[in-house]
């Protein structure tokens, strides 16, 4: 098991997450309660951010937790942590939902998307969870270290649920440029986040001694 530390969660959580997932695989329905206890807040935060609607965000959470129950083998051991995988599923489902709801939802303007980054953490409804605060600060700093176009491309895609072509249209950049910005931005974020994200080898985001194209 690649027990990895996942941001906002204590490093020892990863082993516990894997254990909860094992119980789900074994058909223990009470393990879903434990999975929920572990992930409801980051999952809800993410879905709510993308959908801008609490009820829709809860629907997405229900869908995600139920999908984990239904097919826990969707998580492949050996690639990333349970937490990263689960939040990626939440992201995926929330983006699907926002695309379905498109006509009803007024998509936030570009300016609003960017404003989120300027909201002070203290003003948010965050519990006084020191660990979360520390990691969150680190993410904000990392995002702050990106070039403006990189940050724009990644935040629009990740928090806004926009496709690459939509990001290109919103930012007035060619599609190819947007693709390149997302990759270079992710590389930079991973580098900045250092130990906050898992160490893997052989991927395109670096960290491993893999020669990168164009360097």
């Amino acid at each position: 098991m690649g027990a990895v530390s996942t941001p906002a969660r204590r490093p020892e959580d990863a082993a516990g997450d894997a254990d909860v997932l094992r119980r789900i695989r074994a058909g223990d329905p009470t393990a879903i309660d434990d999975l929920y206890a572990r992930f409801r807040r980051p999952a809800f935060a993410l879905a709510r951010r993308i959908l801008a609607d609490d009820a829709l965000a809860e629907d997405v959470l229900q869908e995600v937790f139920l999908s984990v129950w239904r097919d826990p083998s969707a998580y492949e051991r050996g690639r990333g942590s349970v937490a990263s995988w689960l939040l990626a599923v939440v992201h995926h489902k929330a983006v699907d939902a926002v695309r379905r709801e498109e006509s009803q939802r007024r998509r936030r303007s570009l300016a609003e998307e960017e404003m989120v980054l300027d909201e002070p953490v203290a003003a948010r409804d965050v519990e006084d969870d020191v660990w979360t605060r520390v990691v969150s600060e680190r993410v904000r700093t990392a995002l702050g270290g990106l070039s403006a176009p990189q940050r724009e491309a990644l935040t629009l895609a990740y928090y806004g649920g926009y496709t690459q072509r939509e990001v290109a249209a919103l930012t007035g950049a060619p599609l190819g440029t947007v693709k390149t910005r997302m990759l270079s931005g992710m590389r930079r974020l991973k580098e900045e986040l250092g130990g906050a994200v898992a160490e893997m080898t052989g991927g395109a985001l670096g960290a491993a001694p893999t020669p990168e194209p164009g360097r």
Partner: protein, 271 residues
């Protein structure tokens, strides 16, 4: 190596876009075909997901409502787990990610409906079926498996997107949607998404059009996997759309009997 990496650069970009669920359909198709055999991309996707998880922490973290856990528990109680896909080792470390993109939403009873579906409106039918949550995007290192999954999904989409009128009836087994009948013109398809796998040597599923006490066998089919699949059970039929109720039975032997014996699922088309 350098040449390889340069050639691979566009896939590096697509891997990040794919993890972000931000690819355009044509890029997605290209990437999915590539990912099945590429370890580097599987790692890139996992790395990107890690960074994304970190980004999720940069958000206000309020509590969802108290009712949510109860709804999830209730849904879990009435949802059976999928069996592990046969013949696939449980934890081969070199396998790329498998992403399940959808899950059932059992809390939402969906009425069947009959509707003259002009081409554009078939989207509603598609949405209803996708809403059943059985749209699994399965990426497997087994390319054969991947291709057949993609082919199945394409077949389902094509069937739903074909122009013309369609009659659609969701069929339920113990209250759980397990199949959807799509009758259109002289062809009847069944999309299975939860019927148990049958033993094709000794029994068969039969689709029935039901009208009061009368039942007309429309065709037979086998279920070979728990995943969603499209079966064309009848073609060249007339009046296959006229029924108000459809049913599926499991029958011993390989032929439809004159009357259904072991009905496993039924569903109404309602206007």
């Amino acid at each position: 190596m350098t040449a390889d990496h340069t050639e691979h650069a566009s896939f590096d970009e697509l891997a990040v876009g794919w993890a972000l669920h931000a690819l355009e359909p044509e890029d997605e198709a290209r990437f999915v075909a590539h990912l099945a055999g590429c370890d580097r991309c599987a790692v890139t996707v996992a790395e990107t997901q890690d960074v994304m998880a970190a980004m999720a922490t940069d958000l206000p973290q309020p509590e969802p409502s108290e009712g949510l856990l109860h709804r999830i528990r209730a849904a879990v109680e009435e949802t059976e787990q999928l069996a592990e896909p046969a013949g696939v080792p449980a934890a081969a470390p070199a396998r790329p990610l498998r992403v399940v993109a959808a899950a059932p939403r059992p809390a939402e009873p969906r009425a069947g409906w009959r509707r003259a579906v002009p081409m554009g409106l078939v989207a509603a039918a598609v949405a209803a079926i996708l809403g059943l949550g059985l749209w699994n995007v399965v990426l497997d290192s087994d390319r054969q498996h991947l291709q057949s999954t993609v082919a199945e999904q394409n077949a389902v989409m094509n069937s739903l997107l074909a122009p013309g009128r369609a009659t659609i009836a969701p069929l339920k087994e113990h209250g759980k949607a397990v199949a959807t009948v799509v009758a259109r013109g002289d062809e009847v398809d069944v999309i299975t998404h939860g019927l148990s796998v049958n033993d094709a040597r000794s029994n068969t599923y039969v689709l029935w059009g039901m009208d009061g006490d009368a039942a007309q066998a429309l065709g037979t089919f086998d279920v070979t996997s728990a995943r969603m699949a499209l079966k064309t059970v009848g073609s060249g039929l007339t009046g296959s759309e006229q029924y108000g109720t459809y049913g599926i039975s499991l029958e011993s032997g390989r032929k439809a009997p004159s009357r259904p014996t072991g009905v496993v699922a039924t569903g109404d088309v309602t206007s």
